[in-house]
Symmetry: C2
Subunit: 230 residues, 2 copies
């Protein structure tokens, strides 16, 4: 797998287009995660939990601005760059509106992290500056210890919720993959990052398999942290 | 009107209870304004406006933490201190859900500022530290130039909206007063700040009149800034 670590790669229009798309999809993803988390916080049974979820949401919102700035540096108009991703994220959230507080917590924990893993994988094909910015942004967004505590406590109190939440997490993963495929099908530049171009090798089948294996391991570890079957 | 500027007043239980109530009502107000503004941002016709409103909302959320910290310093449990104010704010927002983006903008501009004026007036009866904290918090929350631009532009484009928005602003004021009366009736400590106790003079009828006159002038100035009849 050919990593690019040289900023001059940004003079390549295909690389630049892919960097813009990846930064934009992350920025829109953070924005939309922020909005939904503020919605879902209203499901919290107590004001303290509502505040904690909203504080998480606000941290995600804070990631958006540096990404928009980077889009400008790359010569893209930030708002136009984000717009192509509205439909996929809105569809994802419409399909995965949590029925209760616990589903909201699992969504915030599993869904956002799954997206983050994918972005990190794709970012390895981009220049170092973009990669660092994306890594920082995703690291900051994930302060989730309190979610693990809440979900584990709920399972201790009522073990039967574990099955329902495990199913819910699988549904989240299914919807996320469906929307990721939609985005990949519509955004050539992103797709070519993975599959290569006539001038640059992409991932072989084995490497794509390895990427999904890595993501699956991380997902399993998160499910285990919550006390859920993967 | 007897201003208190000495921190030792906090050893007076009635003063302390009033300070806790006032800080708590502002904190819950900011929190609930944050949530509703994130909701209302979804009404924005363009992503740039949605982002601008959400950035405003996040600024309001940032005001909450210092207020909660101050409640702890005063020996109050912050979450319990906020809870008595949930009903009034939730009722206000339920009664004033904007029908469209412009109503949302006017609500963010007129409603929040009206509340802020009232808090500032009441804060003059409290110790200097509390007063400064409240002033800082309310100043930070109000970055609203972009709302003025948007509403004025909408009126230029379609002058007939001015009448509808002026009526809407009057309704917002009516609902805000109704909920303020509910809070005052339920929270003795806050009420006594205004009306006095056997040991301290409160406001006379003339002074209460002056307070409302000041608030009305500020409200009129804001309506004029938006290009609306008060």
């Amino acid at each position: 797998m050919a990593e690019l670590s040289d900023d001059t790669t940004l003079t390549d229009p295909a690389h630049r287009a892919a960097a813009v798309d990846l930064i934009a999809v992350i920025a829109y993803g953070e924005l939309s995660a922020f909005e939904r988390l503020v919605d879902d916080a209203r499901l919290a049974p107590a004001l303290a939990d509502r505040l904690a979820l909203e504080a998480m949401a606000v941290t995600q919102f804070a990631c958006v601005k540096p990404l928009l700035d980077r889009l400008e540096t790359l010569g893209a108009e930030p708002i136009s760059a984000l717009e192509p991703f509205e439909i996929a994220f809105d569809a994802f959230h419409a399909q995965t509106a949590p029925m209760d507080y616990l589903e909201g917590l699992v969504k915030a924990f599993v869904g956002d992290a799954l997206a983050a893993d994918f972005y990190r994988e794709v970012a390895t094909f981009l220049d170092e500056d973009t990669r660092t910015l994306i890594g920082d942004s995703l690291d900051r967004a994930g302060q989730t210890d309190f979610i693990v505590d809440r979900v584990r406590a709920a399972i201790v109190e009522n073990p039967s919720v574990a099955g329902r939440l495990a199913l819910w997490a699988r549904r989240l993963m299914g919807e996320a993959l469906a929307q990721a495929q939609r985005v990949a099908a519509e955004r050539d530049a992103l797709m070519m990052l993975l599959t290569g171009t006539p001038f640059r090798d992409g991932l072989g089948l084995a490497e794509i398999g390895e990427m999904f294996a890595r993501m699956t391991e991380l997902h399993k570890a998160r499910m285990a942290a919550l006390g859920l079957e993967p």
